[in-house]
C-alpha cells in the first residue's frame, strides 16, 4: 500500500516538473528537430527562399520538404518555430506550441498560410529527414525497433548515441531487448548501454549493461525514457536491437490495481531513483 502511494506521487511530481500540458511536452528547451522535421532559413537570413530554393535546401541535406502532417506530428511533441516556411506542395505555415503575442496570433497549432499560388514568394523551409543521423534520435511513435549503428554488422569504435523516447502523456514505455552483444567488461567501463527512466541522462538511472546476456524488460514510470550507447577506443561486438511499445493507460476505475501489480515488482527501483 505504501508503495502504491509513493509511486503515484512520483508520477505526479515528474509530470509537473517536466511541464506537460494538454498532452504536449512543454519544456524550456524547444526542439530544433522533432519527428524528423526541422526548420531552415537561407544563409542570407530570414525569408529569403523561393519554393524551388527551399526544396534544394532540404534535398542538399538528404531530406525533402515536410508535409503538413509531418509538421503537425513534430509540433505535437514540442516543435515550435516562429517563422513561416515552405512545406511540401507549396504550402506555407509554422508550428506554434506556446501561444504568444508576437507569434501565431495567440493561437497554437500550425499557423497555416495555405497553398501559395506565387511560388516565388520568399519564406523559410521545413524539411523532413528522419534518417539523417546514423544513430540516436527522438522517437514518438507508439512502437519501434532501434539498433546499434550498423546492426547487424558490428558497431564501430568511439560511438555515442542518445535515444530519447517521448510518448503521449499517460502512456508508458515497455522496453525489451531483442539482440544484445556488447564488449564484455567488468563494471561495463568499455562499451555499454544505459537506461534512464527520465527525460535526460542525469535522473532516473536504471542500469548500465554490457556483455552478451539479454537485459530484462523494463517498463518506464512515465511517458519518457532516455537510452545512451557508448563505445570506447577499442574492441567492438555484435551490437543490439531494442524494441519498445507504448503501454496504454488503463481506465481510471481499474488503474490502481493493474498498474501497481505490474510495476510493483518490476519497477520498484526505478520509482525510487527517479528523482534525485
Amino acid at each position: 500500500m505504501i508503495i502504491l502511494i509513493y509511486l503515484f506521487l512520483t508520477l505526479w511530481e515528474e509530470v509537473q516538473g517536466w511541464g506537460f500540458k494538454d498532452g504536449i511536452f512543454h519544456n524550456s528547451i524547444w526542439l530544433e528537430q522533432a519527428a524528423g522535421v526541422y526548420h531552415r532559413e537561407a544563409r542570407s537570413g530570414k525569408y529569403k527562399l523561393t519554393y524551388a530554393e527551399a526544396k534544394v535546401v532540404c534535398e542538399f541535406e538528404g531530406g525533402r520538404l515536410a508535409t503538413y502532417k509531418q509538421l503537425e506530428a513534430a509540433r505535437k511533441i514540442g516543435f515550435h518555430v516562429c517563422a513561416a516556411g515552405w512545406m511540401a506542395k507549396g504550402r506555407v505555415g509554422y508550428p506554434i506550441v506556446k501561444p504568444g503575442p508576437n507569434c501565431g496570433f495567440g493561437k497554437t497549432g500550425i499557423i497555416d498560410y495555405g497553398i501559395r499560388l506565387n511560388r516565388s514568394e520568399r519564406w523559410d523551409a521545413y524539411c523532413y529527414n528522419p534518417h539523417a543521423k546514423e544513430c540516436g534520435g527522438v522517437f514518438t511513435d507508439p512502437k519501434r525497433i532501434f539498433k546499434s549503428p550498423g546492426f547487424p554488422k558490428e558497431y564501430e569504435e568511439n560511438q555515442i548515441c542518445y535515444w530519447h523516447i517521448r510518448l503521449k502523456y499517460g502512456q508508458r514505455i515497455h522496453l525489451s531487448f531483442l539482440d544484445f552483444d556488447l564488449e564484455d567488461d567488468p563494471g561495463c567501463l568499455a562499451d555499454y548501454i544505459e537506461i534512464y527512466d527520465s527525460y535526460d541522462d542525469i535522473h532516473g538511472f536504471v542500469g548500465r549493461y554490457c556483455g552478451n546476456e539479454l537485459p530484462d524488460d523494463f517498463i518506464s514510470t512515465g511517458n519518457v525514457m532516455t537510452l545512451k550507447f557508448l563505445s570506447d577506443a577499442s574492441v567492438t561486438a555484435g551490437g543490439f536491437q531494442i524494441k519498445y511499445v507504448a503501454v496504454e493507460p488503463v481506465s481510471k476505475s481499474s488503474q490502481g490495481k493493474n498498474t501497481t501489480t505490474s510495476t510493483g515488482n518490476k519497477n520498484f527501483l526505478a520509482g525510487r531513483f527517479s528523482h534525485i
Binding site: 524550456s28 528547451i29 530544433e32 531552415r40 517563422a83 567488468p186 567501463l189 570506447d232 525510487r272 534525485i276
Partner: protein, 828 residues
C-alpha cells in the same frame, strides 16, 4: 560506513563488484537486514540506502567517506545537503577543518535566505577551524507557528589556505607524497580566445537569454592584451570578426551588440563551427599574429547534438583532433539536461580541455560565468613536475598544458622512505614573461607531528589521495586502451588498488555487514564516466622524469640532506674577493689589480635611493633604497638597503628585490617570486635564481652577476630590521662609461697606500692613500662578508675612507641620489 541496528554494528569492506552483489542477494534472500547504498553525482554525492528494518528497531547510520576537494575560483568548498523533511528535535552539523598550512579565510555563505542568520558558529584558529550548525526547533520553523522546517537546502563552508609565501606545498607521509601547486602572484598570460556559440533553434528562449547575459560580462572581463572573436552557428557559421582582434573597449562593445542581436533558429552544425574556430586560430598563428607566449582557447557553448553537416560524432571528433593545433585547449559547455553531453566531454578531453554541463534554468548565466572564470586567467603554460630522485616512483600525471589562477594542480607519488629522507621537486613552467623553475624540499616530520595530534585528521591521506588520483587516471587511460589485453591489464591494477586502498570505484562495491557476517548492505559507485579527472580542471599527461631544462641545472639531492641543520652555508669554497655593500651601508670596494679592499660608509636618510651602478652604454642600472631601523640606537638612526632595483634597459626588464619579495617587470607584465621558494627564472637572457630565504643571484650575462643576500633579524627586535646586502664579483663587462658608487670602480683607479703608522687606536693602524689625485688618510679596519656565514660573517680587512668615502668616490655621496629604483645616474 557503519550502521547500528539495535546495537549491532555493521562494518563495511570493499569487494569486487560481482562478489559484493552475490553477498547482497544472499542476505536479501534470507530476509535479513539488507540495504543498498548508491551514490550518484549531480554536483553532489548522494547516498541512498534501502534498508529492511525489523519492526521497532533503532537504526543508526554512520557514513564515513573521503573525497577530494578541488580548489575552484580561489577557494575550497564543502557542501552539505540538509533536507530532514521535518522539524528535528536535535539537529546538529559540525564541520572540522584541519589545514597544516593554515587558513587564509573561512566563510559560511548564507544559503537559507537569511533564515539562519547567525546560527552557524565559526571558531577559527591558525590551522584548525570548527563550524557548528545547530538550529533549535524554534529556529527551524519557517515561521513561529509553522510546522514546516526551514532547513531545506545546503550548508556551505568555503575556505582557502595560506599560500602567499609559497607556491607549492609538498606533503609527505609514510612513503607517499602529495604536491599541491597553486601560485597566484603572477601576471595573467594573454589569451587568444574564440567563443563558439550555438544559436540553433533549440537555444531559443531562456537558454539564449542567459547565454547573452553571461557573454556580456565575460567579454567585459577580457583584458586589453587578450585577443578574441565570436563565432555563432546554426546550420550556417557566422563570425563577428573573421580574425582575432584585441579586446579594446570599442571592440568589446561591438561584440556585445552583435551577441545581443542574435535570434536563435535553425540547426546545429558543430563540425563546421569548430573547424572554423580552429582555422582562425591556425591562420593567426601562421601569420605570426599571436604572441608566442600566449594561451589559445576555444570555448564551445552548445545545447545539442549536431543536426546539420557532419552528423557522425566520431567523425567530428576526428576532424577536430586532426586540425586543432596542439597548443589550443577546447572547453565545452553543455547547456541543458538533454544535451549529448558525453560527446562534448570526449571532444574536450582529447583536446586539452574539459566539458561542463550547464543546467538550463534561471541560474544558467551564473553557471556559465563561473565556468568561464575558472579558465579566464591563465597564469602558467607547460607546467611540469619533476622529482629527480630515482627512489620516487608511480608519480601521477605530472605535465599540464596550462595553469589557471584560482585553481590547483595536485600531483602525488610514492617514494622509498628508507632511501630518501626528503623529497625534492622541480617544477618548470612558463609564465607571462619568464621561464620558471621552482624547487621545493618537503618537510615531513612537521606534518606527521601535526596530524597525529588531532583526532579528526587522517595522517594517511597522502596514500589515499595518491591512490585516488592514480585510479582515476587509470580509468581514463583505460577508455583509450588500444587492445582488450591492455584493458584487462589496467582493470586488474585498478581492482587491486581499490581493494587495497578501500576506494569505491566502478569495479568495486562496498559491502557492509555485521560481525557475524550474516546481515549485509551493499554500496555501488556512481555509474559515472571516468573519462576525466572528476572535478579537477586539468587533464594532464605523464612525462618522463628528469626533463628539466639544462639551464636550470640543479643537482638532485642525495640521501644526505642538502643543508646541514644550523650551519647556513651558501658557498662551500672560500669566497673570492668581491665588491660588496652590507649592513648600514658599508661599502667594500675590491680593487683586483692592487689586491686591496677599500671601504667606506654612507649615512643618509630612510627612503633615499643611492645609485650603485649606472652604465648607460650596456643599459644597466643598479640602485638601492635605504630603510631605517625601528628606532635610533645611541642617538643615531641606522639605515640599510631595504630594496634593490636592477634595470636592464636593452631587455626592458626591471627587477626589484625587497626583503619580502622579488618582483620582475617586463613589458607591462610582472611576476612575483617569494623568498620562501627556491626558484630559477630566465627572462630575456637574464637569469634570476632564488635560494630559499638566503640569496638571489641575477646573472645578466656571462661574466657578470649580482648576488643579493637576505638578512633576517628577529621579528620583535627593538631596533634592527631585515635588510639586503649586495655582492658584485670583479668583471670587465661594464663599459668605460659605467659610474655609480660601485660602478666607477669597474675601471680600477690607481691607488697608492703608504706610510702605514699606528693610529689612535693601536688595533687600527692608519695610512695615507693617493687616489684620483688626492691624498687621504685611511684607517685599517675590518668589514664583514656574509656569503659563507649569514649570521656572523667573515672578516674582510680593508682600508677605511672617512666622511662617506669623500675623495675616494667622485664628488659627494649626495650626487648619487636618484629618483627611482630604475634610474640611471646623471653625472654632471
Amino acid at each position: 560506513f557503519s550502521r547500528t541496528v539495535d546495537g549491532v554494528t555493521f562494518r563495511s569492506s570493499i569487494k569486487e563488484k560481482t562478489v559484493g552483489r552475490a553477498l547482497y542477494s544472499q542476505a536479501r534472500a534470507k530476509g535479513k537486514t539488507a540495504g543498498l547504498v548508491r551514490s550518484r553525482s549531480l554536483d553532489m554525492e548522494n547516498f541512498k540506502t534501502e534498508v529492511n528494518v525489523p519492526a521497532g528497531a533503532k537504526v543508526q547510520f554512520e557514513l564515513q567517506y573521503q573525497e577530494v576537494k578541488w580548489r575552484k575560483l580561489g577557494s575550497y568548498e564543502h557542501r552539505l545537503y540538509l533536507q530532514p523533511g521535518r522539524l528535528a528535535k536535535h539537529l546538529e552539523v559540525d564541520v572540522w577543518i584541519i589545514e597544516p598550512q593554515g587558513m587564509r579565510f573561512l566563510h559560511v555563505p548564507d544559503t537559507f535566505d537569511g533564515h539562519f542568520d547567525g546560527v552557524p558558529v565559526i571558531s577559527k584558529g591558525q590551522q584548525k577551524a570548527h563550524v557548528s550548525f545547530k538550529p533549535t526547533v524554534a529556529q527551524q520553523r519557517i515561521c513561529p507557528s509553522c510546522l514546516e522546517t526551514a532547513v531545506d537546502g545546503e550548508l556551505v563552508v568555503m575556505y582557502d589556505v595560506n599560500r602567499e609565501e609559497k607556491v607549492g606545498e609538498l606533503e609527505v607521509f609514510n612513503g607517499y607524497f602529495v604536491h599541491f601547486f597553486a601560485p597566484d602572484n603572477l601576471d595573467p598570460i594573454p589569451k587568444n580566445i574564440l567563443f563558439v556559440i550555438d544559436v540553433s533553434g533549440s537555444m531559443w528562449g531562456i537558454k539564449m537569454k542567459q547565454t547573452v547575459e553571461a557573454m556580456k560580462t565575460i567579454l567585459d572581463d577580457l583584458r586589453a592584451e587578450d585577443q578574441f572573436s565570436v563565432i555563432d552557428f546554426n546550420q550556417n557559421v557566422r563570425t563577428w570578426r573573421n580574425d582575432l582582434v584585441s579586446a579594446t573597449k570599442t571592440q568589446v562593445a561591438d561584440a556585445k551588440r552583435y551577441i545581443e542581436r542574435i535570434q536563435p533558429s535553425g540547426g546545429t552544425n558543430i563540425n563546421e563551427a569548430l573547424l572554423r574556430a580552429i582555422f582562425i586560430l591556425s591562420e593567426a598563428n601562421n601569420l605570426g599574429m599571436l604572441d608566442p607566449n600566449s594561451v589559445s582557447l576555444i570555448i564551445l557553448v552548445s545545447d545539442g547534438d549536431p543536426t546539420v553537416g557532419e552528423l557522425k560524432l566520431s567523425k567530428i571528433q576526428k576532424n577536430v583532433k586532426q586540425n586543432i593545433q596542439d597548443s589550443v585547449s577546447l572547453f565545452s559547455l553543455g547547456m541543458g539536461f538533454d544535451v549529448d553531453y558525453d560527446f562534448l566531454k570526449r571532444l574536450s578531453n582529447e583536446n586539452r580541455g574539459i566539458a561542463q554541463r550547464i543546467y538550463g534554468n534561471q541560474d544558467t548565466s551564473s553557471q556559465l560565468k563561473k565556468f568561464y572564470n575558472q579558465v579566464s586567467t591563465p597564469l602558467l603554460r607547460n607546467v611540469q613536475f619533476n622529482y629527480p630522485h630515482p627512489s620516487v616512483t608511480d608519480v601521477t600525471q605530472n605535465s599540464f598544458h596550462n595553469y589557471f589562477g584560482g585553481s590547483e594542480i595536485v600531483v602525488a607519488g610514492k617514494f622509498d622512505p628508507n632511501k630518501l629522507e626528503q623529497i625534492q621537486s622541480i617544477i618548470t613552467a612558463t609564465s607571462a614573461n619568464t621561464e620558471l623553475v621552482l624547487e621545493t624540499l618537503a618537510q615531513m616530520d612537521d606534518l606527521e607531528d601535526f596530524l597525529s595530534k588531532d583526532k579528526h585528521a587522517d595522517p594517511d591521506f597522502t596514500r589515499k589521495l595518491w591512490a585516488y588520483l592514480t585510479i582515476n587516471q587509470l580509468l581514463a587511460e583505460r577508455s583509450l586502451a588500444p587492445t582488450a589485453a591492455a584493458k584487462r591489464r589496467i582493470t586488474r591494477t585498478i581492482l587491486q588498488m581499490s581493494l587495497e586502498h578501500h576506494i569505491v570505484t566502478p569495479l568495486t562495491s562496498m559491502v557492509i555487514q555485521n560481525e557475524a557476517g550474516d546481515e549485509r548492505m551493499l554500496a555501488d559507485a556512481p555509474p559515472q564516466d571516468h573519462g576525466c579527472c572528476s572535478g579537477a580542471l586539468y587533464y594532464g599527461s605523464k612525462v618522463a622524469q628528469g626533463s628539466v631544462p639544462s639551464w636550470a641545472h640543479t643537482p638532485p639531492v642525495t640521501a644526505a640532506p642538502l643543508f646541514a641543520q644550523g650551519a647556513r652555508v651558501l658557498e662551500s669554497t672560500p669566497p673570492t674577493h668581491m665588491t660588496t655593500v652590507e649592513n648600514d651601508p658599508h661599502f667594500i670596494i675590491y680593487l683586483p689589480k692592487s689586491q686591496t679592499n677599500v671601504c667606506f660608509n654612507i649615512d643618509s636618510e630612510p627612503g633615499k635611493i643611492l645609485n650603485l651602478v649606472s652604465d648607460p652604454e650596456s643599459g644597466i642600472a643598479v640602485n638601492g633604497q635605504l630603510t631605517g631601523a625601528k628606532k635610533p640606537n645611541h642617538g643615531k638612526l641606522s639605515t640599510y638597503f631595504g630594496k634593490l632595483g636592477f634595470y636592464f634597459q636593452h631587455e626592458d626588464l626591471k627587477i626589484e628585490i625587497s626583503t619580502e619579495t622579488i618582483t620582475l617587470a617586463q613589458g607591462g607584465h610582472t611576476s612575483v617570486l617569494s623568498w620562501a621558494d627556491t626558484a630559477h627564472v630566465i627572462n630575456q637572457r637574464v637569469r634570476i635564481s632564488v635560494k630559499k630565504e638566503k640569496v638571489v643571484t641575477v646573472t645578466p650575462d656571462k661574466g657578470m652577476s649580482f648576488s643579493v643576500l637576505l638578512h633576517r633579524v628577529w621579528k620583535k627586535h627593538p631596533v634592527n630590521v631585515d635588510f639586503l646586502g649586495i655582492y658584485v664579483p670583479p668583471t670587465d663587462k661594464f663599459s668605460p662609461k659605467a659610474h655609480g658608487l660601485i660602478g666607477q670602480f669597474m675601471q680600477e683607479p690607481k691607488i697608492r697606500i703608504f706610510s702605514e703608522r699606528p693610529g689612535k687606536d693601536p688595533e687600527k693602524p692608519e695610512a695615507s692613500m693617493e687616489v684620483k689625485g688626492q691624498r687621504l688618510i685611511v684607517t685599517r679596519g675590518l668589514q664583514k662578508d656574509y656569503r659563507t656565514d649569514l649570521v656572523s660573517g667573515t672578516d674582510v680587512p680593508c682600508w677605511f675612507v672617512h666622511n662617506s668615502g669623500k675623495g675616494f668616490i667622485d664628488g659627494h655621496y649626495k650626487d648619487y641620489f636618484v629618483p627611482q629604483l630604475s634610474s640611471f645616474l646623471k653625472w654632471p
